[in-house]
Symmetry: C2
């Protein structure tokens, strides 16, 4: 949570003059998003989010992300919608950063998701995958299997500081996944980061999906595997089979998983766990000592990965083979 770039009122007023959004009345930096700076903007036409894209998001990918949000929104997916400026563009610039105005989405993210929330998530994920099928652009997943070895090399020298023998553990898992990773599963647009803090609810009703800045083209079932990791474990890192079943069954009611996808799910879940374990390790070692922003605990994903290694089939996740 952070605001990396300050925006001066005078500059924001000039920026907004390029949009048909009325008069600027107020704006506040919001403590959300670890990659970008976000401001809640109040104008005489309503409330908007202004996002300034910081260095970790590649400028060349922004048209993909913004066009995807427009595409999904037009197909009935509740997600933020980029606002066009008077020239019909959705990408602008302020304070030296690429920036976009997006619509404000009501809803809260759930800190302790229930099986009901997991079912709602599963259904929304499947709808997202179907809505993305006719999206014309594509973007390679830089954080899929071919991206994991560079991450491993970045953090392996210090991995054993976190856990004895973690380096050896990671090396063996990485080799296994590089050999076994499936390449023939149904592809499409995946969100790739649909953690609870990117899913809004009003009561038990899912009200929207946000933060499409990891979205890419990859195996749809890999997105399911990411969500299993993110939604279906307890705080003690144990897998909750009721939540897993709720998520998977709700997903399958909208988009049935093929036999190949079901068979691949344990492997995909291992890969998803390794991906977040590696990026968290890199972030863990990247933080200056004494920093006030604490990176997320990598150990959580080590425990999840160990669970998936012991999984024999999707039955262990709570659904029929």
């Amino acid at each position: 949570m952070a605001v990396y770039t300050d925006v001066v009122a005078e500059d924001l007023g000039a920026f907004l003059a390029g949009y048909d959004v009325g008069e600027l009345l107020a704006y506040k930096g919001i403590a959300e998003g670890v990659e970008n700076s976000n401001f809640l903007v109040h104008t005489s036409r309503g409330y908007f989010i202004l996002t300034l894209y910081e260095r970790r998001v590649a400028a060349k990918d922004l048209p993909f992300f913004l066009a995807l949000m427009e595409h999904l929104h037009a197909r009935g997916i509740s997600c933020p919608q980029p606002v066009e400026n008077r020239r019909g563009e959705v990408l602008g610039q302020i304070a030296g950063r690429p920036a976009a105005m997006i619509t404000f989405l009501d809803g809260m993210w759930i800190r302790r998701p229930s099986p009901t929330h997991c079912a709602a998530l599963g259904e929304a994920l499947a709808r997202l995958h179907l809505a993305g099928l006719d999206f014309e652009r594509s973007r390679a997943n830089t954080l899929s299997v071919s991206g994991w070895r560079p991450l491993y090399e970045n953090c392996s020298a210090r991995a054993n500081e976190v856990q004895p023998d973690l380096k050896q553990f990671l090396a063996a898992e990485l080799s296994h996944l590089e050999k076994a990773w499936p390449s023939n599963l149904p592809q499409g647009v995946i969100h790739a980061d649909l953690f609870p803090d990117n899913v809004f609810f009003l009561g038990n009703k899912l009200s929207g999906l946000i933060d499409f800045y990891f979205a890419c083209t990859d195996a749809l079932a890999y997105d399911v595997a990411i969500c299993l990791n993110a939604w279906c474990f307890e705080t003690d890192h144990s897998y909750n089979v009721t939540k897993g079943r709720s998520l998977l069954q709700a997903y399958a009611q909208v988009r049935p998983l093929s036999d190949e996808e079901r068979r691949a799910l344990p492997l995909l879940a291992r890969g998803a766990a390794l991906r977040f374990l590696l990026t968290r390790l890199v972030d863990w070692f990247d933080v200056p000592p004494g920093a006030l922003v604490r990176p997320k605990d990598p150990f959580e994903y080590y425990r999840k990965l160990r669970f998936h290694q012991a999984v024999k089939s999707v039955r262990d996740y709570g659904i029929e083979e």
Copy 2:
């Protein structure tokens, strides 16, 4: 700018049920305020600020601050207004912290105030002082002259790391101010922290004052001296006499300064500069190395203090003696 305490949606929903503010629709932590955690809360009745008071604000002082905001708001000062809960109270509790819901105030703070902004500030400050005259509560200023020696003792051992001979400079200034500090000036409620980020504008029109959590009972002219320091110096730390004149003349048109107050102003300005120099020094040494939140530069107030030491009379600030 920070959110120190996370608020869980379920807890916030339960908290808001105690208020007549409608249904919770969304909330965002906002990157504002260095003492408290602030959330922008959207309900079916509108937008509010939820403030959680963290350790640096003494719980025993909260009734003073909240009652003051109500008092000033009732007298036409544009400032946030605490919202009463169903029991008629303005102070509640959430996430283990004292907390208050306050009304959302439109406007932006000005990063580069002009003489016009300084005049608007001067007028608003005088109106605030007049509106506070019949406020019945009082609160001692813990950061006035008697509070400076403890601050000095906290930071003096390391002061010379910031500037050669700063320790000796501070010791001499503190001794002088302790002897010369006036005690017979008109007293009342002062804001005590009316920096540009606590003053909202819509265009050149002042739209509101916020952050009353340093407010206390003290010499009204001391508040003027704080504002002279905060509003009338350039980024190169030079005094801008046009801005000073604008502020002081606009103040005096609403509440004329007495002869004693005008004579005391250079001394009060030295005291105000020393107060912020000392608290910034304490914060400067209090931050862990590598921390991502950088404390404010103490050197700025050293330069301002040096300016005030050379001032012979209020003529040097831009108005007649």
